[in-house]
Every structure is written in structure tokens, then in C-alpha cells.
Amino acid sequence: MEVPCKTFVIPNELCRRAGLAGVWAPLNEVAVFPSHLVKAHNPDAPSPYGPSNASVYKVRQQVILFEPILRKLVNEANGTFLSVQELISNNVLDSKVELQKLSCQYRSIIRACLENLQDEAMRDKTNYKEELQNYITIFYSVECVWHLCEILFVENIPGGVVLPHLLEWIRFHFPKYERKAATLLAGDLVGIETHPDYWQTVIGSLMQGRIEVVRALLRLHSAGDSKPFKLVDQALKAMPTYNIYSGVSATEFNLKWKHWLVDTQSKIDAKLFISEKHLHLMMRLSVGEETAWNEVQSHCEAWYELLAAWLVFTEPTVKSFELGQFARRCIARMNVGLRMRHLDYVLLAAMEADIIQVIKEIQQMSENGWFVSHLTDLLYHAGRLVVLDNNPESHLVGSRLRECFLLDYGTLLMGHTSLWQVGLSYLDHCPTEGLKTIELLLPRLPLKSEARTQKIIREAHKRDLPQIIQSICKIQAMNSLKRGHLGNALTWGIKSQDGTFTSLLADKFLREYCKNGKLLNIDLLDSLGSSMLISDRLIFLGKYFEFHKEYRSRNYKESANLLISLLSSKLTPKYFWATLLDDTIPLLECNELIMSSLDTFTLLHCLQEKSDLPELQDKIELIRLGAARNLSRALMYEAQLVK
């Protein structure tokens, strides 16, 4: 889809003189700064632009959706979007009807938002009011286009008889006559015709096809019993309306319609209404008299208002696919072809059933893609984008088009501190690139608090992205470590399931013990359990802690067993041998015999192997002596046992 390319100005003189360079900042921002190319071979000299006040400009798209007042729109539309996805995945039989209901739901969300905006705009007295008015304009257009698209592309209109729906659309968006009629009827009924709006309301209602209202208003006219009024009432009453369910075929209706036209025309020709110029005009309008329509068309605010009115009296059986030509005729008639606003182009494209053009145009509606992504998704599921796939000339594919918009919209929301989860739900429904996009964006969300981090991890877990969870845990561990929170770091390290990394953290504990003789975070070490299995170093740390625990509770036998198994485990880090061997002394020197001869041999074997360690030198004799004494005790004891 084409997006127009605009030039934006960075209000800075140095940026103009030196030129700009730009880099992307996560997530959706660009930083620009004054810079220019310096070739590596040039001598390193101060630039001609310095000394200067160089500024960095962080440029971002203005996102109106992030305004608090529009937050409800974003969240509620997300709910409906998810309902649409669920409906489609459930393969419901008459999904068309359900889709239309959901389309209505979208519209009622827009309506609620508009009402909210209007209330706020009424209340607001600050500069923000202008902004609110701007939003109202935007979302009014959105509502208007959505409604028409719903009629033309989502709703299943039997026989393509579009006029009743079109009238409903026009009545909804041009409610002025209905309101006026209501005021008139609620006011003083005597001499109602003296009200300045009376005739305007009557004719306006007629043009919107509200025949009953017209008749009611005419009856209240003080001359309502006079002949011309009676005749008009009869004519309007007799006017046939086309209804697919009435059992009348189109040909039959046309016959009736022609008959009514001839009848009414003959009354006009007989100058039966000439005494009442307004009635005369109304009747001439009813038979589609060009000069009469020329008189009233200036009252129409928009060409599509005229279109609906014109169709009521000239083409009551118009089919959806014929709308385009009549629309163009109305535009020509009102001579607004050169004054078409953006909304006009969109509506015209919709009437011409040019869905691609509609989608192209609504991208420009400056509501940051809310409209285009939701509508395109709906149209795609309503099977309206299949035309694209069948057109060999365009490279557009319906599903791709839908996904592109959802990706953009989801990415946009991911950039917001509290809407990122909403953003995720859109990316989830992008079958080809959604998950990869999540993989790129999710880890970039700042880990501002523990709760938020857990939330991000849960979302990664839901989508089966273990590598992201691992990375987040490692980052948290590193952050804790740098702040000196070793216990926290280890907890995150274990969560990361990264063996090498956890080993590095376990090392920190062991080295700390070597240095200070203190094991940190014993609660954590006590509860390691099976989680220690992810790294050898952590197993060693865990087992070494258990040794300490047993020793402190005077379970010397148990602690000796642990120590011996550590000695023979081949898990001991080099820097820890001295500490570990040193730990045997109290056990060897204990009053009762704790280490068996076999244990002592293991110890002596290790001692021999590590005898070159410099930090062991001042202790080795002591340990040897203790071992020798223990060995003699143990051998004697064991010899007694054998007897």
C-alpha cells in the first residue's frame, strides 16, 4: 500500500548546516543528530561546525491512540478483534451473520468513543479542546466509512437491494431532519407551519425516504384538510416501496412504480398542487423531475446525501454493484468533483466496490492504523479480499495485506508501557511473521519491576519462547550481581537454566567463602533441591552447603560422608581444594572415630594429588598427621569388628 512521503523539519540550524544522521531507538523512535561523514584517511581535526551545541532529537510518531481518552477504544476494539478471530477459528457455519454483529460491535465502540470525546470537548476549556475536535472529526469519518463498508462488504443483503440500508446509513449520519421533526412534533402543534424549519424538515424527511414522518407533518399543517394536502397524502400513501420480502418481484414492482409515476405526473400536469408551491415541489421531486432536484440539491451537505435521496425516487431497485455509476453522477450533478475531501474519496471508492482503494485511502486517516487494521481484518474474514488473490496483475494477497496491517498495529502498541499485551494479541494472529516479530520485540520491553518481568516471562512462556525467558533471567541475574545481590543473582541464574552461567554465579559464592569463610544466602542454598542439577559447580556448592549443615547439627558421620564424596567427585574447583581438605581436620581429630580407613585412604590420595598447591603448603603436614592418626584408629577399630 502506498503511503505518501512527507518531509519533516528538525528546527535546528546546526542540523541544517552539518546535515543529519539518524539511528533507530527501541521501540519505535528515531534519534537524529547533526553529523556528517568523516573519512578515515582525513586528518583528525575539529570540524568546521564546532564548537557547537549539538543536540540529539528523539523523533517519534504522534500516536493519538495513546491518549488516555482513546484508551477505551483501543482496549474494547481488541476484545472485538479477538472475538472475530475466535469466530473464524471455530468454523461457525453462518459466520457471515456473526461477523456482521461483530462489525456492529466495532461501530458501537466508535460511537461510544465519539460520545465520550464530545462530552469531553464540551467540558474542556483549554487548548486540548482543539485536539479533541480533531479526534471527533477523525472518528466521525471512521464511523461513516465503517458503516458503509459494513453495508456493502460485510452484510449479506438479499438480492443486493441496497437502498433501505443506504437510507439507514444516511439517516444515521444526517440526523438533522429527524431531530427537527421531533422538535416540531414536541412543540406547539397549532400553526406548526409557521415554524421557520417546517418546510425544510418536510422536504428533508421526504428526501430521506421517511414518508410516514412527512405525512404526519403535513396532516398537522393548518391547511392539512385542503385538497392539495389530501392529494399529496394519498399519493405518498400509494407510493410503492420495494422490499425483497414482500413477495413482489422486481418486474412487478417496476410495473407498479411506473404506474404510480404516471399517475402522480398526471396530477402534477393537471396543476393540482400548484397552489401550494412546497407541495408542488415535493411531487415534482417524487417523480424525479430534474428542475425540481436542481432546486433542492443545494440543501444537501454531501453528494452521498443527494445520492440516497435521488435513488429513492428514481432507482428504488438499485443493486449494490450499480452504486458507483450513480455516485459519480451525483458528484457531477453537485459539481463537487474538484472539492472532494478525503472522506468523499473513500466513500466513492466503497460505492465503486474498489476495496483496495478504500484500504489505501483509510490508511491516511491519522488514527495510527486502528481503523485500517481492524477493517481489513474484518473484510478478510468476510471473504472480501479474495479478489486480490485472483488478480494476477497485482502482487497483493489478501492474507498478506491483513497481516501487514496487524503487524504494524501490534508493533505500535508494543511500544507503549501498558498496551504491550494488547499489541501481542494482534501479533499472535499474524500467521507468518507474528511470532518472529514477538521474538524480536518482547525481550526489548524494559524490565522495570519484578512484577512486570514476571509478566513478560509468562507471555514468553505462553508462546513457547524459552530462549527469551533464558535471556531475561540472565539479564536479571547480571543486574542483581552488579548491585551485589548475589542470592538474587543465583535465583535468576537457576531460572535461566543456563549451566555455564549458573556455574559462574556458584563460583562467586565459593570464592566468597574462601575469602571470608562465610556462606551467603543459606536459605537459598538450603532450598536448591533438584534445581542444582543444571550445573556441576552448583551441585558442588549445594553439596558443600549440606556438609556444613550436617556438621553444624553434629551429624559428623553424615558430614564426613558428604565431604568424602565431594573429595572424590571431581567437581571441586581448583581454588577450593585447600578449603575442602582443610575441612577434614576437625573430623579427623574428633573424639569418636568418624572416618573409616577407606575414607582416610581417599583423603590421603587426594592430598597426594594436590600436594603441589601453594595455598595448601602450611596445612598439608597437619592434615597428613591427622589422617595418619585417624587411619591407625580406624584400622584398629575395623580389625576388632572383623573378629
Binding site: 512521503c5 519533516f8 523539519v9 544522521a21 520485540l441
Partner: protein, 372 residues
Amino acid sequence: MFEAQEINAEHKDLIHDVAYDFYGERMATCSSDQYVKVWDQTSDGKWNLTSSWKAHSGSVWKVTWAHPEFGQVLATCSFDRTAAVWEELVGETPGPGERGTRHWVRRTNLVDSRTSVTDVKFGPRTQGLQLATCSADGIIRIYEAPDVMNLSQWTLQHEIQCKLSCSCLSWNPSLSKNHPLMLAVGSDDNNPSNGGKIFIYEYSDNIRRWMKTETISSVTEAVHDISFSPNLGRSFHLLAVATKDLRILSLSPIADNANVQSGLYKLDIQTAAQFDDHGCMVWRVCWNITGTILASSGDDGCVRMFKMNCINAWKPVAVLKGDGSHVANEGHRSSVCSAASLPTPPVAAVVSQTARYIKLGTISQSREVPWH
């Protein structure tokens, strides 16, 4: 449609590089004034200078952040022939700032180069802490910190002779069984007769060496910047090239053509897009996180953005341009430079507690007119 926040960078000369950390919450800048500065964003969106130090004894060309898994680590490269790795230390006691007292220490100075080090980039995070540098004399160096807890030890793992003066390098961020480690290096050699100016190197696990798999012959003009796009699961790679124009190249491994010895595939290289919108030399390219929008800077003084549309074609979407003359007209100046010593009315002082954004004016509303 766009709004901007001004951060007075307080450098005494032009800024050569701005780098954001993984989350976009920290910003590092470097300049010809030989300083590196680190900025932190407060919770209400304002940017505060938290560190500033003289990092080199020459212009600092590039600054780049390591992945946060390795802590708060920066690398810089300079005209002074060195590259350096910096780590931030957080004080034990919480200081006045939001994150406590902190300062940056030089962990290592990589002094192997005999000429200006023109680019420095950390490798993909899954490969541990690797750093690639390239220099004006055409040598690419790959360093590694074997112990990520000790960043003062770096070993020079590989040295690759490139023959032509190197100006820029880029790691391919997409790594998988099918994609070995890949580096692209660009040369700003001016002589077209020296052939292609972009070289693709890949690491062969089989022989544990970096091999040149490709010289991109379609680009013979000087190359000033290159950048691999983040990969959204495509089978091919996209490389943005800043040369006399802007190029986007696609590199697809040719499946049944692996080198017996190295196990590396030949690449099929196509030009996916070529833009002359700058109308002159392009010298900087940068992808957004998802690789959907490319920003380029050129000698026309503009930053231009190109977006991939849904039929996978690239289209220009926006242009940013500096113009001081608009400042006075729009009357934003006083509100923008809160750092300047202009007398600020008390109301503005209250407002300036939070980040200020100015709306950017547009020059042309070229709805119908195509950009040329």
C-alpha cells in the same frame, strides 16, 4: 504526525554516533571532541547526562552497547588506533541518581591496529561476548572475552586481512543451524577498479576459521556503512548498503552448493532495492528492530526512511531535514531549550518536569506528487 524531543548533547563538536541500549532507556553519544557521554531516561521521559568521560585521544567514531546479559558494557573505536571496552560500576550505596552512584571504567584497550579503528560491533549474544573491529588499513579483528564475568581479559581470536581500507562492518543477527556466523565488511576505497567493496565472511565450525565467502561485485563505489536487517524467519538475509546511493541487497544461501572443506554455502546476491533519493552519497544506514523500516543519512543532509510494503517492495515514507529558520516562526524555541539560560516563566518551569515534545512541521504535503 511526528514529534521530537531535544536533548542537548553538550558535545563540543559534531556527534559521530548515537547508540541506544537494548531497551532504548540509555543513550551513548560520541564525538570528535574525544568524549563519550551516557544518558539515562527518567521514568517521566526526560534524558539526564549520567556520565561523561574523555575516552580516546582522537575522534571517537562509533559507540555500541553489548547485550544486557553481559551487564552494562560499551565499546568504542577511535582515530587514535584503539578500540576500548567500558563497563559501568554501580556503587554499593545508593547515590543521588535513580540508579545509585555509578561510573564507567575502561576494561580493556585493544591496541592491535596500526591505523584508525573505523567500526566496532559486538557479536550475536548467543556466541558469548565477541567483538569485531575493522580499521583503515584493512584488517578485521575478532576479539573474545572468555570469561564474561571478567571483561579485562580479551583475546584476539582472529585477524582477517581485507586488503582494502575498511570503513564499516555488520554482524548478521540471524543465527541458526542453517546460518553460520556471518560478517559483512564495507570498504571506502575510492577506486572502482579495485573491484567490489563489500566482503562477506563466514565462520566455519569445521575448520574453526573465518572464510571470505563473497565479494559483492555489484558495489564498486566507496561504501560508508552497511547493516544486516533483523531476520523475521526468512531464508535469505537483507543487507543495507550506504554507497553512492542506497542499496538493499538480498543474500540467499545456495542450498546444494556447500564447500566440502568449510561446510559453508555460496550466496546468491541480488539487489532488492536501490534508491537515489538522496541524490548524492549515502553514509549511514540503520534498521528498526523488526527490520521493516530503514533509515538512511546522506550528503543531502536528510534522514530518509524506507518501509517495506506488503508486496515486499520498499517505498520512501518520510524525510527528516534540519532547518533552523523554522525555529523563530513556530515560537517553540524557548520551550525547547530548557537547558539554555533563557529566563523561563514559572509556568514553563513546572511543565519542564516532564519530557517536552515539539511537533515537527512538514514541508510538502505531497499526497499526489510522487517523491523523486
